[in-house]
Subunit: 397 residues, 2 copies
Amino acid sequence: MRKAVTKKQSVSKKITSSHKPPILFHADAHDPDMLYFSRFSAFDPYLAFSHNGKKIGISHSMEYQRMLLESDFDEVLLLNDVQSSAAKQLGIADYRKISISQQVQQIAEKYGIKEFRVGSRFPAGLAFELHAAGLKISPEADGNLFPERIIKTASEIEALRKGNAASAAGFKAVRKALMESKIKGETLIHQGRELTSERLRELISVAALEQGAVALHTITAGGDQACDCHNAGSGPIRPNELIVVDIFPRRPEDGYWGDMTRTFLKGKASDAQKKLVRTVKKAHALGIELIKPGVSGGNVHNAIQAFFDKEGYVTERDCAEPKGFFHGLGHGIGLEVHEAPFMRATADWKFKAGMTVTVEPGLYYKGLGGVRIEDTIHVTPGGNELLSSSSYQWEIA
Amino acid sequence: MRKAVTKKQSVSKKITSSHKPPILFHADAHDPDMLYFSRFSAFDPYLAFSHNGKKIGISHSMEYQRMLLESDFDEVLLLNDVQSSAAKQLGIADYRKISISQQVQQIAEKYGIKEFRVGSRFPAGLAFELHAAGLKISPEADGNLFPERIIKTASEIEALRKGNAASAAGFKAVRKALMESKIKGETLIHQGRELTSERLRELISVAALEQGAVALHTITAGGDQACDCHNAGSGPIRPNELIVVDIFPRRPEDGYWGDMTRTFLKGKASDAQKKLVRTVKKAHALGIELIKPGVSGGNVHNAIQAFFDKEGYVTERDCAEPKGFFHGLGHGIGLEVHEAPFMRATADWKFKAGMTVTVEPGLYYKGLGGVRIEDTIHVTPGGNELLSSSSYQWEIA
């Protein structure tokens, strides 16, 4: 009666690598390369491959209509047809007993394929079975399957902007809660109860959801908790303590992320806290100032490290309790929240227009607390532009 | 000053497989076997392995404290130490250039390991590198790494009960919205605007979040949309149409899922719609009645198929537009929303106490619409008990 499924807005671009062996996937949409290849939000793993510049998906009958309508595949084969052909050829009575490996062998024979390139995450079990069956399986190093993923299209940049808008909505909710809170001894009272890290995460989740994004693993860590910078934070938020809030929501619609961090403090900041925030803010501005096409990612990281050193903030890394500036300055962001390129001391790649990276300097000292300020930027021919926008106001009386 | 990180409530049980070669992982918590092994919610992939019945994780310094406190590992090695040892041995000046494969080789040498068992999802790239370096890598078939995962502990069952409570909260929100809606021509008006599939998903997401779970890929499909049973549904919800609502939220705290489906109709149901719902409800009750230890999963599926056939509801499967009862009767649920055991026609496994499965008969006919009713059950020595609870009232005036 009514066909309400509409072709979703595509963020795809042509994938051409005609002279190389075809690509093979067995994955769900959690594999960013599979999602990039198919633009299809699949919950369960399925087979897909390339052939003569075409993208071909193999679909269970239950997914068939949706894959036809929503995916980027040029052709969709019915799983049942592939299984039936294989069963006939192998003399197996029940087509439902055809394994995934036998399905791939059937495809390889039909299309005359002797070798498949696969991503580094391709499942080893299937790779070994196919290898044993005489097919050559060539795993590519991370990022080598679609090196073009590192340069974003206009629609990908737009999706990242929306992801960051969801982060920004989270900060707005945090700021509002802190403004509404009353200091009572060593706690904050908000809407009649103690304000906690957990409550802040709830407020952030709802705010992100209203922007069409899902915020998991959000960090809302006060005081020393923020110094273990993967500690999500737990328990009461204390007055006069630095609170690191790192929000990286994902948009289920297209799989793109936002990633931003702000640091807050409710009450009155000490001079040492003020200096720490000021220094990180300066480093953040310096990082953004330095990034433009042709500049080395490693050099930008090292410039920020040198700036912190010069300001007298000591770093100790790679130990059980690191301190100072012990993480990378930033990372690529797209279909993965952490993807190439990575800004770290040893990085020897250079910025190119179209890359999208986070800039997130931070300083962490037990007793004083942690500060991190993070935005997402898009490298342009002349420099870069922010894909995120939120106030840097941090001290809330 | 304050150590607010607390050891989370563990849902673990001992993993013993001492006579077999040690296990190796390079994965994040998205890999259910890794999460089962580590009980550690890691965002980025990391190395872990077993040795003499101990579970050992390798942690970046940034994750070290959290891994010590929150994981099930008996021992946590600092990544930096592993890299430094390897660099020294290989005569490489910069320890940060040590690859993941070199880290594993270092571990293998230190612990005298010649062979690792890996899950079927282990990354092929790393597997091939390790193989080339002379280590034997033996991928296990799906489910063979931890066959004990199929039998749930009391705390796992409790986690699944909470996951299903989040689904139930979603149905409550849907029922409320449908009750509050007014029929206006071919649409429903709720809170001043047209009620859509998208709006129902928003209401469900918020309700699930309030129960500590994240509901993605929720199905809210009306009319013929529900007949393509992986179509999430879009656009206006129509009066007098069957609406299939399938909610499967995940709890970020422990990684366990809920999975339930209810079918609704706002307005007045036709006799054919009533008979369809009645028949599926009977099939649902029959499925639950049949499941107990010793019974074959395939036989239960086939009994439901035979029941639908007898009632005159024709099934056509494995074609581009399947109809009738074209999917499996249910599936295991735990750290994966779809995991072993699967109830389908060809299944030859038998139910055992401690298994947790969904029971979800459905019938779908274009023009009439779709009905699916799904609950999650736990197999007990004497039969089974529901882990989900929500009204079956479906027709809302």
